[in-house]
């Protein structure tokens, strides 16, 4: 056995630069080496650390030698070590485990294992971050940040038995096209993925998925303690028809995915989905998992706009960084046009948000929105009428817009486009924390009142924007629902109806529905969509249970008799139990400093033999031993 560790790091040392504790740099020659900052400070004007010492002075900074720097990207390491690991790891003629140790830096090259490896259960690829991200997206740790458009997956795994631990992966691409790639694509078996953060800031729920197990994935797999953040259409997608899947999805946290876990075909093996948190997802678990699906689920869901019944907990929980309220959402202006384009009467203001409601005819058309200022538009899923001939409705939006005169245009395969354009101020300009989504359509012979599914807002200050359409002729006459303000309701000459309304909430709205009212030409051809947009608030990145959480944290202790929390596959129990969701805490480092004052000065002998008591007054925040 000749295990080999390939060190990956891609940043050179720089002169006269301020370095922080745990920063890594590359320097020295023959070979080039990796150093870790052990004392923060500004580097010298030239030179940098050399040699293999454990405390190397470099101006005000001090460094410790870590090892040889073999590769400068994860992809190069995977390409350079592509051997038969059962007989020839690192071209040594021996068998071994290949560990790829990713030091702290921003890696921008998409990575793939290729198919050149030969592996087995004892000789495999182990990709790991050298230092833990600490459970929160961490710009000081290894992160794979890619703006795709030229590959399929930031990490494309095509080798069995691959393990990935602690990697931060961030899909920057603004495209929602499925062809631009998934965050990670795994087409083989025996995968273990843990403590990773999969991030995508773009909202809109396009075709981009998070962690995908491809058609030929045969299981088993263990997926635990990961955090999925952002507008993934499906944070985990299970596509294969595994004969004996044995897939365990435990203790993950899903934030603002359209679907948390989706199985698009029938698995025939066991899939356990337990102890996960789903926060502001449209659905938590969906699909056709039919056999041994442990959807007695023991998951906790909050803010779902559909699902959330049955085997889910109703336990409340609080993240460490729950967004605060900021208030001051204002509707600035709006305009409507029964056409494919519409211009604002007044100039847009930089930093505001444009929301566009689109109504259309024809069967299942696809449309996109753009404007003359070049703002980037994201879209919520379209809602189609039960009778495809009568089209449907869809919401688009652009954040952090440019200033100036602006014309908004919709293009697509539909007909009879009617658009309502709105400008708002005070909405969050960053994702993925801006909306949840609910929709509905009439049924043949059913209700004639447009009414969404149930949804909740999660912060006090939110905008609920609603778009509705009835493309029959003559259509009904819509007016705003109770409590809503209809800005641009319109009845075209053709009798179609393309309506929008909004409600600016100043308190959390729980289990509400949005609706339009109608008074004539009542029909069942309606479609309605609603999006919830949050006000600008506190940056919201720590998706671990907060110290103030009293519901879900340690729930395994408070409910020991239910049998719901029977195991925790990461084996890293906290405070005698385990939590729901990802629970990979940053131990110690995040704790507040504890300072103290000695009230009485005594010796050990005073305590042991004199019976005296040492009194120390501690100040600072409570230290939670996670």
């Amino acid at each position: 056995m000749a295990d080999f560790t390939a060190n990956v790091h891609g940043v050179a040392w720089a002169a006269s630069t301020a370095y922080a504790l745990n920063d890594n740099v590359g320097n020295d020659t023959s070979p080039i080496k990796i150093y870790k900052c052990i004392t923060a400070g500004t580097s010298a004007g030239s030179g940098g650390p050399t040699g293999t010492g454990s405390d190397i002075t470099d101006g005000g900074a001090h460094w410790a030698y870590q090892g040889e720097r073999h590769y400068t990207s994860l992809n190069a390491a995977l390409a350079g070590e592509s051997y038969n690991l059962t007989t020839n790891i690192h071209n040594t003629g021996q068998a071994g485990i290949l560990t790829i140790d990713c030091y702290n830096f921003k890696d921008t090259t998409p990575a793939g294992t290729g198919t050149g490896y030969t592996v087995d259960s004892g000789h495999y690829i182990n990709i790991k971050a050298h230092d833990s991200h600490g459970g929160t997206w961490n710009e000081s740790r290894y992160r794979l940040v890619c703006n795709l458009g030229y590959t399929y997956g930031i990490i494309n795994v095509n080798t069995q038995y691959t393990r990935i631990t602690g990697i931060q992966s961030y899909l920057v691409s603004t495209s929602n096209s499925s062809s631009t790639g998934d965050l990670l694509f795994n087409n083989w078996s025996y995968a273990i993925i843990s403590k990773c953060i999969f991030r995508r800031d773009v909202d809109g729920f396009g075709g981009v998925e998070g962690l995908v197990f491809g058609t030929y994935f045969m299981g088993p797999a263990k997926i635990f303690n990961n955090i999925f953040i952002g507008g993934f259409s499906q944070a985990i997608r299970l596509t294969g028809a595994a004969a004996d899947a044995g897939i365990e999805i435990y203790n993950n946290t899903f934030v603002r995915a359209y679907i948390g876990i989706a199985a698009s075909v029938t698995y025939t093996g066991t899939i356990s989905v337990k102890n996960n948190l789903f926060y502001n997802c449209v659905s938590d678990v969906t699909g056709t998992i039919t056999d041994s699906y442990n959807a007695t689920t023991n998951n906790n869901s909050k803010g779902l706009s559909s699902g959330g019944t049955g085997n889910r907990f109703s336990q409340t929980f609080t993240f460490a960084d729950d967004p605060g309220s900021a208030g001051s959402i204002t509707h600035v202006q709006s305009k409507a046009n029964y056409s494919t384009s519409c211009s604002f009467d007044s100039n847009n203001t930089a930093g505001n948000t444009i929301i566009v409601g689109v109504g259309f005819s024809s069967s299942f058309p696809a449309q996109e929105v753009s404007d003359s200022k070049g703002n980037i538009y994201y879209k919520l899923p379209a809602q189609f009428c039960w009778n495809p001939a009568y089209g449907g409705a869809q919401i688009f939006f652009a954040k952090n817009i440019a200033a100036g005169p602006n014309t908004v245009t919709v293009s697509g395969t539909g007909t009879d486009y009617g658009i309502n354009i709105h400008e708002y101020s005070g909405l969050s300009t960053v994702g993925p924390y801006s909306f949840i989504y609910a929709n509905a359509a009439g049924t043949n012979g059913g209700s004639t009142t447009p009414l969404t599914g149930q949804f909740s807002t999660v912060v006090a200050d939110s905008l609920i924007f609603v778009c509705g359409a009835d493309e029959s002729s003559p259509g009904p006459i819509y007016s705003a629902g109770t409590g809503y303000l209809g800005y641009t309701l319109r009845s075209s000459s053709a009798g179609h109806y393309d309506a929008s309304e909004d409600y600016i909430a100043t308190s959390i709205q729980s289990n509400v529905r949005a609706n339009f009212t109608n008074t004539s030409n009542l029909k069942d051809y309606w479609s309605i969509v609603a999006g919830v947009f949050q006000a600008i608030g506190t940056p919201f990145f720590n998706f671990h249970l907060g110290n103030s959480d009293t519901g879900a944290k340690g729930y395994g202790v408070s409910d020991p008799g239910s049998g719901l929390f029977s195991d925790d596959i990461d084996g890293e129990t906290r405070s005698g139990s385990w939590d729901i969701g990802a629970d990979d805490y940053q131990s110690g480092a995040a704790a507040a400093a504890i300072t103290g004052t000695i009230i009485n000065s005594i010796t050990e002998a005073d305590i042991v033999t004199g019976g005296k008591t040492l009194i120390i007054t501690l100040t600072g925040d409570t230290w939670i031993a996670n």
Partner: protein, 121 residues
């Protein structure tokens, strides 16, 4: 200028399009990138493209997929740097034994295009 890291060692299964075979581009950076100790012969060759930026040269990492079946994308084409091809300039051929070779984008892409892997399915 851009620098492209190109695999020199052959794969065990060179016929497989997804294998890390000889002459495949692996990473692209601006010139002066602090390459790792193993990112050189015999594993890799760095080609410095004198008339393109790293952003422009990123295209050579592009893999073309058939996504007609989205859950099961099939890689159908990717760039390959044909070091042994007669169309390559002499400096490029000579560079196989060195760590870094210089070439213009015309020289590099001529070699690449001639070895562009064709659809395999």
């Amino acid at each position: 200028m851009a620098e492209i890291l190109i695999k020199l060692e052959p794969a065990d299964n060179p016929s497989d399009l997804l294998a890390w075979g000889r002459c495949l581009p692996v990473a692209v950076f601006e010139d002066g990138h602090p390459w790792g100790s193993l990112e050189r012969p015999p594993k890799f060759l760095v080609v410095r493209i004198t008339d393109q930026t790293a952003a422009q040269a990123q295209q050579y990492l592009k893999v073309e997929y058939d996504t007609s079946d989205p859950p099961n994308p099939i890689a159908i084409r990717k760039w390959k740097f044909d070091i042994d091809d007669d169309t390559m300039s002499n400096p490029m051929k000579k560079a196989v034994g060195d760590a870094i070779a210089d070439g213009t984008i015309l020289e590099v892409t001529t070699g690449m295009i001639n070895a562009y892997i064709k659809r395999t399915t």
